[in-house]
């Protein structure tokens, strides 16, 4: 059963087609990798699914329902969560309060419950001392907070947009474990990454985007040896 299905998504910006007939299925409780060279349209794809952009053409189905015209906040409440590459924590709020925004509005809980849930998610991701100020956090903690915030909206489908960027070897290992932990909760995950090791370890399948089109689909081993994919990343042989 597909949690989310996109049908021939086309998205124009001015004269440029950032996405061209992208049809992808997210199967229940899988971890789907979304990879491709820079500018391929990976984040745009997430933005279209999350409702930040409307597709120029094409449809999006979430659990069988056509959500193509729904506004972003409603899609969040239905269960589509996502993280952002550039995280700007809310000033004046503590760590847990930043996460609380997700449980308050994405899940619609009352303040006390929302805080409890937020604290639980912080613990789940091994974020210590969640009542502290947001001004002194390591890069890893910022990413964890961002993921906690998305988890607090109680998503059925979660998009992780380059969460491994800028992490060292140990931190990447920890993050991989956390993603597995999230996955064990029954959440379907779409993960955009440049770090191939992560894709290889975590994903069941991959989708490769290049110039806004899907050029390959399948398990990592198959996709990584596909000549089209190699060309896309490395360029043509002269």
């Amino acid at each position: 059963m597909a949690v989310l299905k996109t049908e021939n998504i086309v998205r124009h910006f001015g004269g440029l087609a950032a996405l061209n007939r992208v049809s992808v299925e997210f199967r229940e409780n899988e971890i789907l990798g979304i990879i491709g060279p820079n500018g391929a349209g990976k984040t745009t794809f997430i933005n279209v699914i999350a409702g930040i952009y409307l597709p120029t053409e094409g449809k999006i189905f979430f659990e069988g329902q056509d959500i193509s015209a729904l506004p972003a906040h409603q899609r969040c409440r239905m269960g589509i969560g996502r993280t952002f590459q550039l995280v700007r924590p809310l000033p004046g709020l503590s760590l847990v309060e930043n996460v609380m925004v997700g449980s308050l509005f994405g899940k619609g809980l009352g303040q006390r419950e929302a805080r409890k849930k937020a604290e639980e998610w912080c613990e789940f991701l091994a974020l210590s001392d969640c009542n502290r100020d947001i001004t002194r956090m390591t890069a890893l903690e910022v990413k964890k907070m961002e993921i906690a915030h998305a988890l607090a909206t109680q998503p059925k489908l979660l998009f992780l947009d380059e969460v491994m960027a800028g992490l060292n070897g140990d931190e990447t290992m920890e993050m991989i474990d956390l993603v597995r932990k999230i996955h064990r909760r029954g959440i379907t995950i779409g993960i955009v990454e440049h770090v191939m090791r992560v894709i290889r370890e975590l994903t069941d399948r991959c989708v490769v985007l290049d110039w806004g089109e899907v050029i390959a689909e399948g398990p990592y081993e198959m996709v990584s040896s596909d000549p089209k994919v190699v060309t896309a990343y490395l360029g043509e042989e002269a």
Partner: protein
């Protein structure tokens, strides 16, 4: 800790409430002005917390004033009732405008609000049968027959209402929504916040407060006029007060209103023409050098000392 704070608030409120019993009429009248501007400054700050600026306070203030006066004169309603209704009318107008205009934010919204005072002024001038035209309308008697104690209690109530509203905006989920929207609308949307609805709601509530304040002012001074009720004073001073005291807080506008209110009384006597210059300067200087305002900057200093 919380209990001693509540006790402090009750004490302050008691002192303020009983002020008429041990001070003279002049001080009460000065307090009236301070409290009116305080309410306006708070309402402006509340919208500011969402990241939007309204320059339309004078407009909604005047609408509330005219509505309150006209309802009282033409429909024979009790002055207090007409003040409340005036507030609701201002809120309803704000809802209409907000729904139309808040899809585009930032400078588009700000400039539309800037035009509001002018627009309402033109409308009022062009319906002379209803509004008394360019000369305005005078009430046969001011509210409470000009009793300064009751008048003071009225303005105190209006200010307390705005303080309560401001605190509600700070302690409930509205605070989280506002902070998130202000920080980044796209992230806010992705957290499940219906940004448009929140903005319209906040604009409506803050405009209702401005209408309430305008209604009270109109009944206290006993008249409304196109020039007086929509005067740019009612936009300029509250902004200067909120900026000076410190944005995004309840106590910032309160402190700013008290400080500048007192200064204003002084200045009006010394410099009859152009004393508003000070407020413009305050805005310019605060934006350039003290984005946190007085309360904010002091708050930061205290926090630094506290962490040592």
């Amino acid at each position: 800790m919380r209990n001693s704070r509540t006790l402090l608030y009750i004490l302050i409120l008691a002192v303020l409430f009983t002020l008429p019993f041990y001070t003279g009429v002049y001080l009460l009248n000065v307090m009236d002005i301070i409290l009116i501007y305080m309410a306006l400054a708070l309402s402006w700050d509340m919208l500011l917390r969402s990241g939007q600026i309204s320059f339309g306070m004078a407009g909604l203030f005047g609408v509330g004033g005219y509505a309150a006066v006209l309802l009282h004169l033409n429909a024979g309603l009790n002055p207090l009732v007409s003040i409340v209704l005036g507030s609701l009318i201002a809120g309803a107008l704000a809802w209409l405008i907000g729904v139309a205009v808040l899809q585009l934010r930032g400078m588009y919204f700000a400039i539309v609000t800037l035009a509001l005072a002018e627009i309402f002024r033109v409308i009022v001038r062009n319906l002379p049968d209803l509004t008394g035209g360019p000369e305005g309308t005078v009430l046969p008697s001011a509210i409470f027959s000009g009793n300064s104690t009751k008048t003071y209690w009225l303005t105190l109530s209006v200010a307390v209402v705005s303080i309560i509203a401001s605190e509600i905006f700070r302690r409930t989920r509205i605070h989280f929504a506002l902070t998130s929207i202000r920080n980044d609308e796209i992230v806010a949307k992705s957290s499940g916040i219906d940004v448009f609805k929140y903005l319209v709601f906040i604009f409506m509530v803050t405009s209702a407060i401005q209408g309430l304040t305008g209604g009270a002012y109109a009944h206290i001074y006993g008249f409304v006029s196109p020039e007086g009720s929509f005067s740019v004073d009612f936009t300029l001073l509250p902004i200067a007060m909120a900026l000076l005291g410190g944005m995004h807080s309840t106590w910032g506008p309160v402190v700013g209103a008290v400080l500048l209110g007192v200064v204003s009384e002084f200045l009006k006597l010394q410099i009859p023409y152009g004393h508003l210059l000070v407020y413009g300067l305050i805005i310019v200087i605060t934006i350039l050098f003290f984005p946190q305002g007085i309360v904010g900057t002091l708050g930061q200093r205290f926090r630094k000392y506290g962490s040592r």
